[in-house]
Symmetry: none
Subunit: 403 residues, 2 copies
């Protein structure tokens, strides 16, 4: 395992009145549509970001390691300075986080799939014919009727055949094998502990599954469930502990609020638009040291493969920058959790253009914020987990290592 | 220890119809003969490589770590994606590999040196007067007459005073101290185990040495042996396991075939020239996913200190590129296992110019394949072990890490 930067930041950080803003344009990095062409960011007209580039330093952020495309979880953990290979959020915990479920210390989170069973209890369709969200939502809600002595049961619909189960109770463990056999023609696997300490949870899950079968018995399309990704709340040290920062998150979507909450950020405001996010930032300016501002649409347009709309979304973000710079943050970072080139219609491994502005950054002469300028920028190509130490240093919040 | 990328590639890889070609120009990187001059690669006329650079991405590959010049073993392991500091091939095993000896699971490989002993058995010359290969070859072959009950003995000449011994038998261990005392005036050291489990091997080696002494007794120049680098076949996970790739190696020299075999590549063809190697590539195109094509002469001309000939060899390689691109590989990588500047006449630590071409690489605007363009290239300066993850990602063979 690589160096854990928190061992250094924990020891070296101190507090001052500086303000750090990290703007995460989800999936910011892109690709040209043909060799020699321009990326989305290079195509966009971004006068405000370019002006920041002229007094800042650029570079490319490697989300995890070269060649590795991250999901939102590891992508954001990296930006938050948590080694994404060291801190792994279980699938169930991430799914719960993604729908805004606030996990507690006695919770086991589980990804549920509706499936179809024949009369002998064998799986005929592992995804219940990709049942629509409209059809599956009432079924998920019906599962809330499961009653298990000593255990609180939460069930929430997610999308199509997927739902989330959270079991809350003393002494529950998160180490269980998936019950999805990954094939059809056989029954779901019996719940079983994969490590000591989760045996009771396996018994609880058996009860859940049996009652779920009864509650769904009359359903033709989705009369069974499989359960996967059993996991407890990940043990992430807080921003306060590792950086000495009072941190606020300003995000629209539950997933990003959830990820921020896992590292101890406070979710502020209920903004639904970028303008509202900027307003929330202003309102909370005095109360926090660090602000994470998440902008989703550079990713979603990339996932759609819509180059033109991603360009527009980047321009929308650019237009919001004066609202941030007007607050005069000590350190302003603009980056992304990964690239989402519209050419690929998916998250990718390509390093992410990243801009850092502070009075003591070493200006690199960049004139425009872009992949190609970032490639020649002063930050070089660095793993995302180094951005937070750089932010603290530029904010004058990190002492000297060694005498 | 750094992150083992195989933990990620093992989990994330999947299969598709893509083809990856890795061309290794041994010792490719170079140096100018004087400050401000051009390197061998920069001097060479390379229209085909330059055209690839225009639609690809360049960078510098650090074989092991900054400042570390590797041998062929760690140099290639890095390119193959095996951390060369984690996976160490024993000297004996590498020597056996280098002469094309296919090590089995019950083998102990040993580097042998002929030496000269006085009448009291004390070493007078540790290298037998650097005896010529012509003189030493029959002596090595004579050692095949050693007979040890329960153990198969293989002896092969290597070069000058060097030969290889392989002992094959159940329960042999590879942990023995060298018998070379590293000085003259004393007898060779008694064979001795350095770790439990190799005691029987030490007894077997004593028998070998005693019989060798008898077989060589009448030789004036080389009447004794010392044995070094005891080692078993290194336990390297296979390309199939860590990448899901059916891999083929197209190499002329035994060392490179041997290294490829150690990671589970299939040695295809019996090419002796680059043109024949390209023909073998074409013949085997449908049967494999990954092709390692090794070109030796950029290294040997560098070792000779022959700048002009290294330039010519690079031009020879360039002329062969259309034969590769005609096959339309999904990902084409051109790199080297290390630099061999003719200025230094040896392997060096200088990062190696490396070119990656794929439809979704992030073109970096390079116009010529060269050290100076690679320095400003989009791949940055990365350790060689990251090239395989990048190759897989560019081939669409790596899934997302985390949700």
């Amino acid at each position: 395992m690589d160096t854990d930067m928190h061992e250094l930041t924990r020891e070296l950080h101190h507090k001052n009145d500086s303000k750090i803003v990290m703007v995460v344009a989800d999936g910011l990095g892109g690709l040209p549509l043909e060799p020699g062409g321009l990326t989305e960011l290079e195509t966009a007209k971004t006068p405000y970001l370019d002006a920041l580039a002229a007094r800042g330093v650029q570079g490319l952020s490697i989300p995890v390691k070269p060649g590795i495309a991250p999901g939102s979880g590891p992508g954001h953990l990296g930006l938050f300075g948590y080694d994404p290979l060291k801190y792994v959020i279980g699938r169930g915990a991430l799914e719960a986080t993604g729908i805004g479920f606030e996990l507690g210390p006695n919770d086991v989170a589980i990804r549920g799939n509706f499936c179809t069973l024949d009369s002998a209890g064998r799986i005929t369709d592992r995804r219940a014919g990709r049942i629509s969200s409209e059809e599956s939502k009432p079924l998920a809600i019906r599962l809330r009727d499961v009653k298990i002595p000593g255990v609180e049961v939460f069930v929430d619909p997610v999308k199509e055949y997927r739902f989330v189960v959270v079991l809350r109770g003393q002494g529950l463990g998160g180490n269980l094998h998936d019950t999805d056999p990954q094939t059809t023609g056989v029954p779901p696997l019996e719940p079983a502990a994969s490590k000591p300490g989760s045996e009771r949870t396996a018994e609880v899950v058996k009860v859940f599954v049996a009652q779920a079968r009864k509650l769904l018995a009359s359903e033709k399309k989705a009369n069974g469930v499989t359960l996967r990704g059993f996991s407890t709340k990940p043990a992430l040290p807080s921003y306060e502990e590792v950086y000495g920062l009072r941190a606020a998150a300003i995000a629209v979507y539950p997933m990003y609020k959830g990820l921020a909450r896992l590292v101890g950020m406070t979710i502020v405001g209920q903004a639904q638009t970028l303008a509202e996010q900027i307003a929330v930032l202003k309102e909370n300016w005095a109360s926090y040291d660090f602000f994470f501002l998440h902008f989703k649409y550079t990713d979603s347009t990339g996932e759609d493969g819509n180059f033109t709309n991603k360009v527009k979304r980047i321009e929308e973000l650019d237009a919001a920058m004066p609202g941030i710079t007007a607050l005069n943050p000590t350190v302003l970072i603009v980056t992304g959790d990964h690239s989402t080139p519209s050419f690929l219609k998916s998250h990718s491994w390509h390093p992410v253009p990243t801009l850092l502005v502070s009075p003591c950054c070493r200006f690199d002469g960049g004139k425009k914020f872009s992949e190609s300028a970032a490639l020649r920028g002063g930050l070089g190509q660095i793993e995302a987990k180094y951005l937070m130490p750089l932010a603290l240093a530029n904010a004058g919040r990190l002492g000297k290592f060694g005498a």
